[in-house]
C-alpha cells in the first residue's frame, strides 16, 4: 500500500467515524427532545445537523493540512463535545447555544492551529521560554485586580465585558509546550544531575505552588504539577526525581492545608461528607449537619449518580431540580456534568463515556510512541497525560476518589476556555501524528 492510499484511508476512516458520531448525536438530541417536548421545540434537532456540519468542516481542514494524522482523535473529540452539548442542552438550552458558539470558536482555533503549524510545528521549540513565561502569566492573570474573579471559592477566572474566561486552561497548553521543549534539550544533562539546569524547573515548581496558594485551587495545581512530573519522568527516566518533586509537593500541600481554610474544608468534605451530629456551618453561621452545608454539593451529586443505577433514567428524564424548579446541584453543567450524565445514562453510559476517554488517551500515547523526535514525543505525551489527569481529577473528585476540586471535564463540561484548550490538544496530537505517519 502506497503512502497516498494510506493517507486517503486514514481520512476516510475519520469521515466514517464522524458519520457514526453524527448519528449518535442525532439520537441523543432526539431522546432529549422526546423526553422534554413539553418544554423544548423540535428546532433542537437542528443542533445535531449544525454540529455535524461543523465537524465535517474540521475534517476538511484536517484532510488538507494533516492527511496522515490519527483518524480517531477528531471523531472522539466530536463524540465528547456532542455528549457534552446534549447534556448541557438538556440542563439549560440557553447555555447550549453559548456552548455551541464556543465549539465553533474551538473548531476555528483548531483549524488555525493546523494551518499555521502544518509546515513544522517543531519551530515552537525556539520560543520555549516565551511559552514558559506565558504559562506563568496566564496562571496568575486571575489574581490581577479588576479582571480577576472568584467563583466557588477559587480565583480562576478573568472577565472582561460579559465574557468569562479561565486562562489557566490555555496556560496548561503553554506549560506543556515549554516543558516538552526544555526537557528535550536538557534531558541528558538533567539525568546526570547538573544543578544549574534545574533552575527553570524550580521556577515552574515555585510558580505552581504560588498559584496554588494564591488561587486556593488544589485541582489545577495537581493537574499542572502532574503534567510536569509526567514529562520529567518521560524525559529523564529518573523515578527518584519524580519522587523528590512529589515530596516537595506534599510539603507544600501540607502547608496549604494548614494555611488555607478553603482547602481544609475540601479535604474534610472528602473524608467526612456525612455527619450524624451538627457541626458549625460557615456559610450560614449556624450548627447543621455537614451534608446540609459545606458538603451538600458533593453529597447530592453522589445521590444523582446513584439514582441513575445500571441503565440510567434516560436522556432528558433525570432529576436535577427541586419541585419548585430550583437546581438541586450547583455548577451541574460545568464541574458536575459527570454526575448529570451518570444519572441519565446510568452505569452503562458512564462506563462507556470513560472508555471513550481511555481510547483517546491510548491513541494519544500511541502518537507519542511512534513520533520520531524527542520534542514531539514529550509534547504528545504531555498533552495526552494532561487530558487523562484532568479527567481523573474532576471525575475522581466527584466520585470521592480524591478531594473535589472544580475543574472541567475535557470537551464535555460547559465552558469556553476548556473547549478551546482541548481543541488545541487535539490539534497538537494530530500535527505530531501526521508528521510521524508521513
Amino acid at each position: 500500500m502506497g503512502a497516498g492510499a494510506l493517507s486517503l484511508s486514514y481520512r476516510n476512516r475519520e469521515l466514517a467515524y464522524l458519520i457514526v458520531v453524527g448519528i449518535i448525536t442525532a439520537v441523543g438530541f432526539a431522546s432529549v427532545y422526546i423526553a422534554r417536548k413539553s418544554q423544548i421545540s423540535a428546532a433542537s434537532l437542528t443542533y445535531a445537523v449544525f454540529f455535524f456540519a461543523l465537524y465535517i468542516a474540521a475534517h476538511v481542514v484536517a484532510r488538507i493540512t494533516v492527511p496522515n494524522a490519527d483518524p480517531y482523535l477528531l471523531p472522539i473529540a466530536g463524540l465528547l463535545t456532542a455528549i457534552g452539548l446534549t447534556e448541557i442542552y438538556r440542563l439549560g438550552p440557553s447555555n447550549a447555544f453559548k456552548q455551541g458558539l464556543w465549539v465553533v470558536i474551538g473548531v476555528v482555533v483548531f483549524s488555525l492551529a493546523l494551518l499555521a503549524l502544518r509546515g513544522d510545528y517543531r519551530q515552537l521549540e525556539n520560543y520555549k521560554y516565551l511559552f514558559g513565561l506565558g504559562a506563568i502569566g496566564l496562571l496568575f492573570m486571575p489574581l490581577l485586580p479588576g479582571i480577576g474573579q472568584t467563583v466557588n471559592g477559587a480565583r480562576l477566572w478573568i472577565h472582561f465585558g460579559g465574557l468569562q474566561f479561565q486562562p489557566g486552561e490555555l496556560g496548561k497548553i503553554a506549560l506543556i509546550v515549554f516543558l516538552a521543549a526544555y526537557l528535550r534539550e536538557k534531558r541528558e544533562v538533567l539525568a546526570q544531575g547538573r544543578v544549574k539546569d534545574w533552575g527553570p524547573l524550580l521556577v515552574i515548581w515555585g510558580g505552581a505552588m504560588l498559584v496554588l496558594f494564591a488561587t486556593d485551587d488544589l485541582g489545577s495545581a495537581l493537574l499542572y504539577y502532574g503534567i510536569f512530573l509526567a514529562i520529567l519522568y518521560a524525559a529523564t527516566a529518573r523515578i527518584k526525581f519524580v519522587a523528590a518533586f512529589i515530596g516537595l509537593f506534599l510539603v507544600g500541600s501540607v502547608a496549604v492545608y494548614q494555611g488555607t481554610p478553603h482547602v481544609r474544608e475540601r479535604v474534610v468534605n472528602w473524608i467526612h461528607p456525612w455527619t450524624t451530629h451538627k457541626v458549625f456551618c460557615p456559610l450560614t453561621g449556624t450548627m447543621t449537619l455537614r451534608q446540609d452545608c459545606s458538603s451538600y454539593q458533593e453529597v447530592q451529586s453522589l445521590y444523582s449518580i446513584a439514582h441513575g443505577g445500571y441503565g440510567g433514567t434516560g436522556l432528558g428524564s433525570g432529576t436535577f431540580t427541586t419541585a419548585q424548579g430550583h437546581p438541586l446541584i450547583p455548577y451541574l453543567s460545568t464541574d458536575f456534568i459527570y454526575s448529570a450524565l451518570a444519572q441519565e445514562l446510568g452505569l452503562i453510559g458512564a462506563a462507556a463515556l470513560l472508555l471513550v476517554y481511555m481510547v483517546f488517551v491510548l491513541r494519544g500515547f500511541r502518537v507519542s510512541i511512534v513520533a520520531g523526535d524527542g520534542f514531539s514525543k514529550l509534547l504528545a505525551a504531555g498533552l495526552t497525560f494532561g487530558f487523562a489527569l484532568q479527567t481523573f481529577v474532576i471525575v475522581g473528585g466527584i466520585l470521592r476518589v480524591i478531594p473535589l476540586t472544580g475543574i472541567t471535564l475535557p470537551f464535555v463540561s460547559y465552558g469556553g476556555s476548556s473547549v478551546i484548550s482541548n481543541f488545541l490538544v487535539v490539534a497538537g496530537l494530530m500535527l505530531v501524528s501526521h508528521r510521524a505517519n508521513s
Binding site: A230, D292, T313, L354, F365, T391, V401
Partner: protein, 497 residues
C-alpha cells in the same frame, strides 16, 4: 524514551479504570444505601414525578388516597391528597413531601410508585419514562367497606377505641376504625403535624396517629374466656355441660377471688350450680377461675398461641405498626418459662393477669370459632391493579392453621349464641339473624372505669361477618351495654351487602 511513555500510558489508563470502578461502586454497590438517605434531595423530588397509585375502597369508588397534580417550571409533580379525610387514616397512612410515610402508603410504596414491575409493564414504564410521559404507579383496591368504616367511625365518635370487622371465612378485613382519628391532609400543611399531635379523644392523653386496631393493646377481660373455653373443651378436660358450683368466688392460693370484681357478670353474684356453658353465658369468673386451675396456665397460653397470640398478626400494613398479643411484662412480650409457677391460671382464665390483646387479635379469635377452628389469614388488600386496569396481583384467601377442632368450634358457637340470646350480650340481637358473641369488661387502674369489649359474628349458622369493638376508659360502661350496640350496627350494615 518509549519505556517511560508506555508506563505513563499504563498509569493514565489505570487512573481512568479507577473511575470506572468508583462509578460502579456508587451506582451499583452503594446505590441502595444512598437512595435511603434522609437528605437525598434527588430521590425526594423524583418520587413526585411518579403519579402514585390510588388507594380505593372495596367498592372501587371510595378514594382513600389520590394525587394533586402540580405543574412547576414545565414539570409535572404529583403530591398526595386524601379525599376520604381521615377515613381509616391510621391504616391508609400518609406520604408527605418530606418523604415521611406510614401505613399502607409506606408498606405498599413499591406498588404505588410502580417500582415493582413484571416484564410487560416494565417495558411500558421504560417507554413512558423515556418518552417524557407520566409514570403511573399501581392502584390498590382494599377490602375495606367504606360505608361500614364510616359508620364505625361515626359510632366511635370522640371516644377512644377501635372497631374491626372481617369475613371470618376469607380473612378479608372490612373495617379497621381507630378513634380518635385525624385528617391525613393536615400532615403536609404548615403546622398541621403539630395540630394532629394535639388531637385528644375523650380518653385524653393518647395519639390520633396510633392505629389502635393493630397497634393498640387492651386487657381483653372476659372476651378472653373464648380462649379459655376453647382450651377447656378442645383439650377434652371439660364439656359444655361440665358442672360447677359458684359460691360467688373461687379459692386461689388460699384466698378468695370474688366474682364481685367482675363488672361483666350480671344477675346474682353467686349462681350456685351451673354448667360451663352457663358460666360462659353469664361470664361467671369463679367458673373460669376453676377451669384455669384445672387445665393450668400453660394449656391456656398454648391455645392462645394457636389463635395467633405471641405472633404479629399478618396484614399488609408495616410490621412496626402491628403488635403481638399475649402476656406482657415490663412492656415486653413475655412467655413464662415455667407457667405452672409463674402464671396465676385462675386470673389468666378470665383475661386478667397482664394479658393484653389487640382488637385484631380478638377478632381473629371470634373469626376462628366462626370458621370451624381454622384461623383465617387477615388481609386488607383485595387486588393491585395496573394503571391500564390489568390485575397485577390478587390476594387469595388462606388460613394460618387450625387452632381447635370443628366440634369445639361449634360448641363454642352455641355458647356464644346463648350470650346474645339470654346472657350478657343481648344488646347485639338482630331480628331474624342469629348473632354469636362475647362481652368483656376489663378493670382499669381507676375505679368504675372500664375497657369495654364486644366480639361477635353472624349469622351464627353460616358466618359471613365477624366484628370486634373495644372502647377505652368507659365510666360505668360495660361491654354488653356500650360496645355490643356498636357491634350490632356494624353487623347489620355489613350483612346487608
Amino acid at each position: 524514551m518509549n519505556t517511560q511513555l508506555n508506563r505513563l500510558a499504563l498509569l493514565a489508563v489505570l487512573l481512568l479504570a479507577v473511575l470506572v470502578g468508583a462509578t460502579t461502586y456508587w451506582q451499583a454497590w452503594d446505590a441502595g444505601t444512598l437512595a435511603a438517605k434522609q437528605d437525598n434531595a434527588v430521590e425526594l423530588v423524583s418520587q413526585f414525578e411518579v403519579a402514585r397509585g390510588l388507594i380505593l375502597g372495596a367498592n372501587g369508588k371510595t378514594v382513600f388516597a389520590a394525587n394533586r397534580k402540580v405543574r412547576r417550571s414545565g414539570q409535572t409533580f404529583y403530591f398526595r391528597r386524601y379525599p376520604a379525610h381521615g377515613l381509616a387514616a391510621q391504616t391508609i397512612g400518609y406520604s408527605t413531601s418530606a418523604r415521611s410515610q406510614t401505613g399502607l402508603e409506606e408498606s405498599l410504596d413499591d406498588y404505588l410508585t410502580g417500582a415493582t414491575t413484571n416484564l410487560s409493564n416494565a417495558i411500558q414504564r421504560t417507554l413512558d419514562r423515556l418518552g417524557g410521559g407520566t409514570v403511573y404507579g399501581d392502584n390498590v383496591v382494599l377490602t375495606i367497606d367504606a360505608g361500614a368504616q364510616q359508620l364505625a367511625q361515626r359510632l366511635l365518635g370522640d371516644r377512644c377505641g377501635a372497631v374491626v370487622a372481617m369475613n371470618p371465612r376469607t380473612g378479608a378485613v372490612y373495617v379497621l376504625a381507630s378513634s380518635p382519628t385525624y385528617d391525613p391532609n393536615l400532615i403536609d400543611q404548615p403546622g398541621g403535624y403539630a395540630k394532629v399531635l394535639k388531637i385528644r379523644g375523650s380518653c385524653g392523653g393518647s395519639s390520633a396517629l396510633l392505629n389502635r386496631t393493630t397497634d393498640g393493646l387492651f386487657t381483653p377481660g372476659s372476651t378472653f374466656k373464648m380462649v379459655t373455653a376453647a382450651a377447656a373443651l378442645d383439650s377434652g378436660a371439660f364439656t359444655p355441660t361440665s358442672g360447677f358450683n359458684d359460691p360467688g368466688y373461687c379459692m386461689e392460693y388460699g384466698k378468695k377471688v370474688s366474682n364481685a370484681g367482675n363488672p361483666d357478670q350480671r344477675g346474682p353474684e353467686a349462681y350456685g350450680h351451673v354448667t360451663l356453658a352457663q358460666g360462659f353465658q353469664h361470664s361467671i369468673n369463679s367458673v373460669f377461675c376453676n377451669v384455669g386451675k384445672a387445665i393450668g396456665g400453660k394449656t391456656i397460653l398454648d391455645y392462645a398461641k394457636k389463635f395467633g397470640f405471641y405472633s404479629t398478626p399478618p396484614l399488609e400494613t408495616p410490621a412496626n405498626q402491628r403488635v403481638p398479643s399475649g402476656l406482657y411484662r415490663n412492656n415486653k412480650l413475655w412467655f413464662p418459662k415455667d407457667p405452672a409457677t409463674q402464671v396465676d391460671p385462675g386470673r389468666l382464665a378470665f383475661g386478667q393477669f397482664s394479658m393484653v390483646a389487640s382488637p385484631l387479635q380478638m377478632l381473629l379469635v371470634a373469626s376462628t370459632i366462626a370458621n370451624g377452628g381454622l384461623v383465617p389469614r387477615p388481609h386488607i388488600v383485595d387486588r393491585i391493579v395496573g394503571h391500564d386496569g390489568s390485575v397485577v396481583s390478587r390476594t387469595r384467601p388462606s388460613n394460618l392453621g387450625r387452632a381447635i377442632k370443628p366440634e369445639t368450634a361449634s360448641e363454642l358457637t352455641q355458647m356464644m349464641i346463648s350470650v346474645v340470646q339470654a346472657g350478657t350480650g343481648t344488646a347485639a340481637q338482630i331480628p331474624g339473624i342469629q348473632v354469636a358473641g362475647k362481652t368483656g369488661t376489663a378493670e382499669t387502674a381507676v375505679n368504675n372505669v372500664y375497657t369495654a369489649w364486644f366480639v361477635c359474628f353472624a349469622p351464627a349458622d353460616n358466618p359471613t361477618v365477624a366484628v370486634a369493638v373495644v372502647l377505652e376508659k368507659q365510666l360505668n360502661g360495660f361491654g354488653g351495654a356500650v360496645s355490643a350496640p356498636i357491634a350490632k350496627q356494624i353487623l347489620e350494615k355489613l350483612l346487608h351487602h
